[in-house]
Homo-oligomer: 193 residues x 4
DNA sequence: AATGAATGAGAATTCATTCAT
DNA sequence: CATGAATGAATTCTCATTCAT
């Protein structure tokens, strides 16, 4: 309960005022918790941000895994769409916080994260995608590995562009379509190369 | 001279230790300049970062404009390749600084930048690309505007992925090819849609 | 306890070295308090001076009210003498501090005082005096209001002259007599006018 | 010319923003003079304030002396009225600056003033008044000396009250009358004592 | 477990003063 | 004589962290 209150208040301050305004005193005050209690659960504000990121990654991972499981047996394209859709929906819940934890303040408390170094959700599926590219598009292995990274970069950047920066006017289904067009357009042209 | 020293030392600290470690005292000391002199030229560390970004954008803009001028009269694809190549080369000079100024610390001192609000290089060519998409790929106007944003997002994110995060093992020409594949793959599939 | 130590040390520094030498660090050090604690209770040195003045006014008000209460039922002259005597005794306790808070640094932290704008003791009795002048000396109302201000100005300035500047060699009873002579001399001549 | 510009700008800053805001840089900038030049004429900002006061006292002294000379041969009351009137007019020219130099910042640069210790205009006439009181009101010498101080205190404090604090609504002749009533009321009642 | 007053290192910022030109 | 860039000591203020209760 205390921990949850601290995490929530940290997220709020981060979104409202940025990391510069994030002080241990401010976190505790906003959470209605004494500063002494904060230090009973967290060693520093960086540790709180790290825990926030860990939980966020956990949620996204769960969403992606669920999506993949439900798409099992379908074509690569359907599976990719499932992942993209799950990813977009994960972002849509709180795009700003997602962006802050994964881009803007991606290094904050990073060293404290080290227990689960590859917890970044997008990295978890690199191998699966790599294998699919080899199997379904006849990519060479090293090309496939690069291509998997490119695909995830596209997916993430387009999702951020739409949901965080609002630089594009697309509703959710249209955004998913747009991302799929970019991903598949790349993969097909790459295969034809 | 004093200003240059301050900007240089700011860039170094930013790259080595991040914005959190960027204190006015550290900047001045590293530059071999007294703290008083720093304040004679800049009102805050944010203002120094803003000036650094302003200069950086100025350089990139110059590179892109030169590239475009030299590609004048060539096909859309050739012009796009010229911009992508110029962009990659601009990043390659100091990918980390570029990334920090345009992504990680994109908001730092942003309000102080306000004199040239749309100085972000990638924004400068949105219109040109939009027009080309309408002309050469028969896009509808609103579709073309969205697509131009998507293309620039792809170009920037893939360039960052390769040069900043080193998540891909491609030399410069291969990277430019890869980006072009992604951009054209998207545009062609989008047009066919 | 901490607050009291800070107020005391502020008063000492003010008297010894003036407002220019009054730094937050000096206040805290002299009080044997850490600078951090100072800021837990006061937002600025001006706020400490304001609180000092507020407390001082509170004491003087209390003394004057007590004096007036005890003189209730007596003649106007006796009541005036009671106020003058109470005022002189209030000044005599620490004439320098009184002077500094009410004259020299009367504006320091004045805006922070705003909760009790009319807390200046001398102002509290203007109305009572005005009424007495109308009743006992047959003053017209607007003349009486001006005269009340004049009387208080005389009382304050003569008290300051004697106790702060030591420009006159009078013991306390003689000083009170002298002030009464000035006040009544003025009022009588004014009435005769 | 340079000196005059510096004195003027000092007076303006003092009136607008107080001594705290009075910095050598601010004085020089406002005067349109380089900071280096300021130091060629004055050793510190305190020295500038001291010179400002010295000149002010010089002017007031001149006005009072002229007034006295013109009243030569007239009665004591007429001579006193002449001094009071000259004093009021001297204050009226720039009451705020007068107040700042003689009350609020009376100690600023005071040590630098030491060349002419008794330059305070009101002090210059103490002896003359003392003698008159002995002669015309049959005061004992020590009583007369105290009374002279009291009279000057009354004159100054009432002038300040009216012109600086605006606590009284009197035009210039009425104010002079009021001050004369207070001064003569005191002297007569004192003599009768 | 929870509290929150106290701490003090450190960061931002100002400003009197110097000195080479 | 005038200039103004450079200096750095001094000041204000914040905030992570401790510890007695």
């Amino acid at each position: 309960m205390t921990v949850d209150a601290l995490l929530e208040s940290t997220a709020m301050i981060l979104k409202e005022s940025g990391f510069d305004a994030l002080s241990c005193n401010a976190i505790a005050e906003r959470a209605g918790i004494s500063i002494g209690s904060l230090y009973q659960y967290f060693a520093s504000k960086e540790a709180i941000v790290a825990e926030l990121r860990r939980r966020h990654f956990h949620e996204v991972n769960h969403a992606l895994q669920t999506a993949l499981r439900e798409a099992r047996g379908q074509s690569f394209v359907e599976q990719l769409r499932a992942v993209v859709a799950a990813n977009v929906r994960s972002h849509a819940a709180d795009p700003e916080l997602h962006y802050l934890l994964t881009e803007r303040y991606r290094d904050v408390g990073f060293d404290l994260d080290a227990v689960e170094p590859k917890s970044d959700p997008t990295l978890l599926y690199s191998d699966a995608v790599t294998e699919s590219l080899i199997r379904e598009y006849s990519y060479a292995r090293d090309t496939a590995e690069n291509a998997a990274v490119v695909v995830f970069t596209l997916v993430e950047s387009l999702t951020h562009m739409a949901l965080v920066y609002n630089q594009v006017t697309l509703d959710e289904p249209a955004l998913i379509d747009e991302i799929m067009i970019a991903a598949l357009g790349y993969l097909e042209k790459r295969a034809a190369h």
